[in-house]
């Protein structure tokens, strides 16, 4: 009988250890504070991560990657986020959109783009968000027209991560003849125009609204087939979702680590905080939450690599990671007390970053819709009438 094995291989452990060591050496607290205040991307740390091969480890070797699975990417992401979720998010976000190119791109597109992403020569991002309330789904597509020379895009996208830095934008579009398509827009003279946005958390990943003006995209910059845009976006949300839950898991672990350390050193009423049952039980609950979200995260990533990840399993992971992440970070801050509320302590930024990560993980209501669809099938009003 084969027993279910919850252990990592030595190779996986080493990879996770190496990522953690890199993060401890590079994600320096003073630098984090400085970049957070300025809302600036960690250029030099990103370059180092590229040199050491931490970007795109799940890309095939022929395209500059290490040929590993998303599971390994999740392990690395968790380890980086544990040390500093802000740095980790910034490093993870400049290849957003690679998901679509990896799975649906032509060989030429892969050769042209993926190796450059791993080397830090190219910065990619996804511009999928139309308005505050829009979520993953059909309404994300930008209206587009086609003529003899290619596609013409115009419109705006809101709150695009890394918009101020990106060289290329992967944009989900809708063209009346082609249906839903995915286009790559290069930043050039004619646009798109980027308006930086100030945000509360994950400030090392600068965001912006983009105005595409009226931009022309050559047919060669279409990724995948016409009509497949919905599939592309689903795939993007799935793979990116896995990387996001790994960030959430790492961020929660990092907040917990800080709280444990503080509870061991801080004295009140003549004892260490670690001696008070209230604090001990808080930490116990946080630890229990970490075990739960580590399990669902690893399970979802392993399912993905075996090509059997269902939408519901990912939705469950997103929902639980989100819920437990915000609880753990909140309790960690509470253990720090007044100090936790002050920017001198890293936990203050952890709190802001955790809420920004939570936004990436989507709302609880969205995830429940997905899970319920798997249990019950979609509700009648969402089944298209023929």
């Amino acid at each position: 009988m084969r027993v279910m094995d919850f252990t990592l291989s030595d190779k996986q452990k080493n990879l996770q250890w190496a990522a953690g060591e890199f993060a401890k050496g590079e994600f320096l607290p003073d630098l984090a504070t400085e970049l957070d205040q300025a809302g600036r991307f960690p250029e030099s740390v990103w370059k180092k991560a590229c040199q050491l091969g931490f970007i795109g480890i799940h890309y095939p070797r022929e395209f500059g990657g290490a040929g590993l699975g998303i599971f390994e990417t999740v392990l690395v992401t968790e380890a980086l986020s544990r040390v500093d979720a802000g740095f980790a998010n910034a490093l993870a976000s400049l290849d957003a959109g690679s998901e679509v190119i990896l799975k649906f791109g032509t060989r030429e597109q892969k050769e042209k783009i993926l190796p450059r992403l791993t080397k830090g020569d190219l910065r990619l991002t996804v511009a999928a968000c139309e308005a505050e309330a829009e979520s993953a789904g059909s309404s994300d597509a930008l209206e587009t027209q086609k003529d003899a020379r290619g596609y013409v895009l115009h419109g705006t996208r809101r709150l695009v991560p890394n918009a101020p830095l990106a060289d290329r934008f992967v944009v989900p579009c809708y063209e009346p003849g082609d249906g839903r398509i995915t286009l790559m827009v290069e930043k050039g003279q004619e646009g798109p125009k980027v308006h930086s946005v100030e945000k509360m958390g994950l400030r090392l990943t600068p965001s912006g609204d983009i105005d595409l003006g009226k931009i022309r995209v050559s047919p060669g910059n279409r990724v995948g087939q016409a009509g497949e845009g919905g599939l592309h976006l689903d795939h993007y949300h799935q793979e990116r979702g896995l990387r996001n839950i790994a960030q959430g898991l790492g961020a929660a672990q990092g907040a917990y680590d800080r709280a444990v350390q503080y509870a061991r050193q801080r004295e009140q009423f003549g004892s260490r905080l670690s001696q008070f049952q209230i604090i001990r039980h808080k930490l116990a609950e946080m630890r229990a939450g970490l075990d739960v979200i580590r399990f669902v995260t690893y399970k979802a990533a392993a399912d993905y690599d075996r090509e059997r990840l269902t939408r519901a399993v990912l939705a469950i992971a997103r929902m639980e990671v989100r819920k437990i992440l915000v609880r753990i970070v909140d309790e960690a801050l509470q253990i720090f007390g007044g100090y936790g509320y002050m920017s001198d302590q890293a936990i203050e930024r952890c709190y802001r970053d955790a809420w920004a990560l939570a936004a990436e993980l989507g709302t609880e209501e969205e995830q429940k819709d997905v899970i319920a669809d798997e249990i019950l099938g979609p509700p009648n009003h969402l089944i298209p009438k023929k």
Binding site: M200, F269, G338, S343, R352, W355, G362
Partner: protein, 380 residues
């Protein structure tokens, strides 16, 4: 009198007046001062002229002489507009001046209350120390006899209005060898030799309130500035009993603001072509927010009413503080969550509500301490 939940006519008129003034005088300042991370000090004069500072301060000391219920009305309305600004004003009219108002000598009242009530002098309150937060009895700031007065030495931190205050009510111990014994409060003027503001602190939220670290080094305080010699603990309890009820009003104000913002968000935006407000899950979430706001408000005003009857116990005050400061978190968290990325943009007030409300579980007794107080008051 029969059970009644009605505000009096005067209180209703007062509520309308406060709402109007908050909108006219406070709203236009919020964005600028949140960005500057500073308190708009001009507000003290403006609110002083309107008779909206130190609300329970009697008319004989130039105060408006209102009750606790009215104070809560005021605090709720100000916090609905801006909790950071609300925090500074609350400390000025609460912790900083209540020890004088409730337990100070006649001379001390005459010396400080009229100036504070008119907004001519800004007050702060200094209890917390780097090594004494929840552990109030562990304060290490000492007061040693010197002639007719005392010399204060020690460090105080997380002090609201710390860098802008004109006077500060400081807790120190005359008996450092014995925990909690000999605690005494002192009113210290800014500019007293030996008193300095060491730095301004940066924080998660309440950015338009001022928070500082203070240092006392052989700072001489005359005998007339002493409150509750050796019985500072009792003065502190009186002050905190009132202050903890006020936290109910702060929570209610922030909660109401988050409910308002959420209501307009879900009526304006669509998801997959359907207005958000049509979703059952969203309707339930908004309903839940409304339930919590109503419950917080009812508890707060009941606590304030009990206080006005002279019947509020420390348990009553702690119940209000614990319930309201914990409950408001649910509201602000949901408000932010529903808006996803957009909820975290600086221009969106819901992210400010989240950062501001997060504070409330910490000062004037953390939630953990409130639990322990309530258990103790219940006889455990």
């Amino acid at each position: 009198m029969a059970l009644s939940f009605e505000l009096s006519d005067e209180q209703i008129t007062f509520q309308h007046r406060v709402r109007t003034i908050a909108k006219k005088e406070v709203t236009p300042l919020v964005e600028e001062y949140e960005r500057k991370e500073a308190f708009p000090s001009q507000l003290f004069r403006i609110l002083g002229e309107e008779g909206l500072l130190c609300l329970r301060c009697p008319r004989e000391y130039n105060g408006p002489g209102l009750d606790k219920v009215s104070e809560c009305i005021f605090v709720e309305e100000i916090n609905r507009v801006c909790a950071g600004i609300g925090s500074s004003i609350m400390v000025h009219g609460g912790l900083a001046t209540d020890p004088v108002l409730l337990c100070g000598s006649e001379e001390l009242k005459r010396r400080y209350l009229p100036f504070a009530a008119r907004g001519e002098k800004i007050g702060a309150f200094a209890m917390t120390e780097p090594n004494a937060g929840s552990d109030v009895g562990g304060i290490q700031t000492t007061a040693s006899r010197k002639g007719e007065g005392f010399l204060l030495s020690g460090t105080k931190t997380f002090i609201t209005n710390g860098t802008i205050c004109d006077f500060v009510t400081v807790a120190a111990t005359t008996d450092p060898g014995r925990r909690g014994e000999g605690m005494t409060l002192f009113v210290v003027d800014r500019g007293s030799p030996g008193f300095s503001v060491t730095r301004k602190l940066k924080k998660l939220g309440n950015l338009s309130s001022d928070t500082g670290e203070l240092s006392f080094h052989d700072c001489y305080v005359p005998q007339e500035h002493v409150i509750g010699a050796g019985k500072g603990g009792e003065v502190l309890d009186q002050t905190l009993k009132s202050g903890r009820i006020t936290y109910g009003a702060r929570s209610t104000g922030i909660g109401q603001a988050a409910l308002d913002a959420t209501f307009s968000f879900v009526t304006q935006w669509k998801r997959q072509g359907v207005p958000l407000g049509r979703s059952q899950a969203v309707r339930c979430a908004v309903a839940e927010m409304a339930v919590v706001v109503e419950t917080m408000r009812t508890m707060t005003y009941r606590g304030a009413w009990l206080y006005d009857q002279g019947r509020a116990s420390m348990k009553d005050a702690s119940v209000v503080k614990l319930f309201c400061t914990e409950s408001v978190q649910q509201i602000v968290e949901k408000a932010v969550a529903l808006q996803k990325r957009a909820g975290l943009v600086k221009e969106n007030p819901v992210q400010r509500f989240l950062r501001d409300a997060r504070l409330l579980k910490i000062p004037e007794g953390t939630s953990e301490i409130q639990h322990l107080i309530i258990a103790k008051e219940l006889g455990l």
